[in-house]
Symmetry: C2
Subunit: 421 residues, 2 copies
């Protein structure tokens, strides 16, 4: 064990030093060169299709033998259509506007000093993730386009898929004349490597965990490097007394059922008592295949509704299950959301503009919505081109994180010899 | 010890819960109300002058008895002029532009959704600091004006001064109709209270340590709450071969000697061999009362120069001592800075615009300057009105942190019933 720890420590140190050197090159690389690397990587993904799919088949076979759940196997699986979508995603990132070098603001001081805040890359980003191999492509593409070096540590289930995808990025970087070390994949599944990444102060500038609660909790607990975490999405759809009933039904079904496994899915629907009995909403959800758990009032409406337990209001189902509670107007909704929301995405359905504004101001979540499905909580849908995750913390970046969220800024001060009195 | 730990844990929990409630009120408070609270607090500082100075005299007497150094006693000391400056500083913050509610950007999506990123307060800020009582006023003023609740934990040396100053803020809040719990002072000097603050996830949103290396290192090591740290300022002034000699001398003396105890003071001067022997610079520094430690070439210039040891290049003197090294042009300066800078503030003196731009781009520090004294590294000098510190990390805020750095944003999405296909 001690031997392993020492090996992982020096492994991560040498990877971190290589990443730092690569990051210095990337920080000064023009947008076109970074885009060329991504375009070459996308082309390599398509050209290496057979190799990547064969590697993925190996992971799938081992996963099936190890008894991975169908949901996990589905997340792991690549097929030609998914690979094409992945390559298209990498290409799309190459066409996003490069945030590096952008001037955030400029100030002329009375003493003649000119101050500019200029966007620069974060530096070296460590990504720790689980079974989905497309995180490899997303993280490499976003990290690289924003001028950062990335150190990827994927899950053991996807080890062959990740190696094959990583090779495409290494090829893309080299083709564009950039250092291959700008995108590195940790070559061991030893968990000590994760611990070494979490303690690599000075070598890794930020850790982004992507995965389930257990992974994120471990990262947050052990990390000495700053963490940009996305936690669970216990999202609410509040249907106000002034809601349009047709919109209410359509939004409830879409917010819950469009895809139940995404973090933007609604988990709890709150209904204003002034809206009246939500039988149409319950029926539409049941018809769409959703299990409904309601408070007493809702449970009394339909034989299809089970009574919710206290834990339901704090549960991220990520499944075709919804909890529904009646509340006393906006104040009741705000109190329930304040007590139970994970501060990811919460929405109101109402035709009353003033109530909507109170909700948008009063709910303290990364994303708040009026008359829109919580399923829109997604970097692509927000026009960011892609996302590396949806941050639920309050520091640095909040909500969908894409290129800008992977940068910081420096202050450039230009003078003519000013000294401070 | 266990008893103490439990007490501090529940103390911080109840303070955190009170702060959270106050933060919810503050988040929705109009700018004018927050400004009124600060104006009332500034008035109370002046009105309570005698009480505050008496409390400070008690701290000073105890500090002298406990053998505090003259420098520490000077940091602790309040007098009528310093109190007036403090009150004026609080008033000045009341007149700064409130960042809360500011729209960062707006996007209209093809599906008709309108997205806005809107600035909101961070929430509850914990400030852990050492002997300077003016941190109490700065942190309370900036925290409050940016809509945050603050929990202050000052050093034991300043306990009476801090209590008296805190009372002025409590009075100001109440006078403006805001909750007094928006600014709380931890009532115990038990170090377990600091530990409890560092682990108060969910109650404290960010910890800002202000103090020496030991304090900041402890906070960074123990904290489970995100930390906005300012570390040491090992700052460089690089005098390029194309520097104007008169500017070079004036900037070197000012950057090092204007005030030697501030984090923006220059600690190392790098001189391009093409500039020639820097005897005039050495002489001016010696004449200004500075001890000069040079590399071999510099030490050979003058009997007043000692030879620097290897540790000098990594030392923040915060004193009238400077290290000087000769380097080979810009590349030599960049290499030295990359190896030794604490990434706080680094400056170049040159008349060559292209060299200056290469320096400003190539040096990866929070603040980079051309033909200006590093002593300008200060929120007030940057036009931010004040500062809570100069952040040397890469996440969230970098360089001087004032009102905007104490906010985050939320995404507000406005639709007309859009569902995601």
């Amino acid at each position: 064990m001690i031997e392993k720890g020492i090996d992982c420590g020096s492994l991560i140190r040498s990877m971190g030093e290589a990443a730092r050197s690569a990051a210095q090159v990337l920080a000064g690389a023009p947008s076109a060169q970074k885009a060329a690397a991504l375009e070459a990587a996308a082309a390599a993904i398509l050209a290496d299709r057979d190799t990547i799919l064969a590697a993925n088949a190996e992971d799938m076979a081992r996963g099936a033998a190890n008894g991975l759940s169908p949901a996990m196997l589905d997340r792991l699986k690549l097929d030609p259509a998914r690979l094409e979508a992945m390559a298209a995603g990498v290409e799309a990132v190459a066409h996003l506007r490069d945030p590096v070098g952008r001037i955030i603001d400029e100030t002329l001081r009375p003493n003649g000093l000119v101050l500019q805040r200029v966007r620069v890359p974060l530096g070296v980003i460590g990504i720790i993730y689980e079974s989905r191999p497309n995180v490899t492509a997303d993280a490499a593409a976003l990290g690289l386009m924003s001028g950062n070096a990335v150190i990827l540590r994927g899950g053991s289930e996807a080890v062959h898929s990740n190696r094959a995808l990583h090779a495409a990025f290494a090829a893309g970087l080299v083709a564009a004349g950039l250092p291959a070390d700008a995108v590195q994949l940790v070559p061991t599944q030893d968990r000590a490597a994760v611990g070494a990444m979490l303690r690599a102060q000075g070598l890794i500038d930020i850790i982004i965990p992507r995965g389930g609660k257990g992974l994120v909790a471990r990262v947050q607990d052990e990390a000495r490097v700053p963490v940009l975490a996305h936690l669970d999405g216990i999202n609410h759809l509040y249907i106000d007394g002034a809601a349009d009933p047709a919109k209410a039904v359509e939004l409830a079904v879409n917010a819950k059922m469009r895809r139940t496994g995404v973090c933007g899915a609604t988990e709890t629907i709150l209904i204003d008592r002034a809206y009246g009995a939500p039988l149409a909403i319950v029926d539409a959800l049941v018809k769409a295949g959703c299990e409904v758990r309601g408070d007493k009032g809702v449970a009394a409406l339909s034989p299809h509704v089970d009574t919710a337990s206290a834990t339901d209001w704090d549960t991220e189902y990520l499944d075709a299950i919804v909890s529904i509670a009646m509340v006393d107007g906006l104040a009741g909704a705000l109190a329930h959301i304040d007590a139970h929301s994970s501060r990811h995405t919460d929405a109101i359905v109402t035709e009353d503009a003033a109530t909507a504004e109170h909700f948008l101001t009063g709910v303290d979540s990364a994303i708040v919505m009026h008359n829109a499905s919580t399923q829109f909580a997604d970097g692509g849908e927000f026009g960011l081109g892609a996302e590396i995750g949806i941050a639920t913390g309050r520091l640095h970046a909040r909500g969908p994180v894409a290129l800008e969220g992977l940068t910081t800024y420096k202050w450039q001060v230009r003078g003519t010899g000013q000294v401070r009195p």
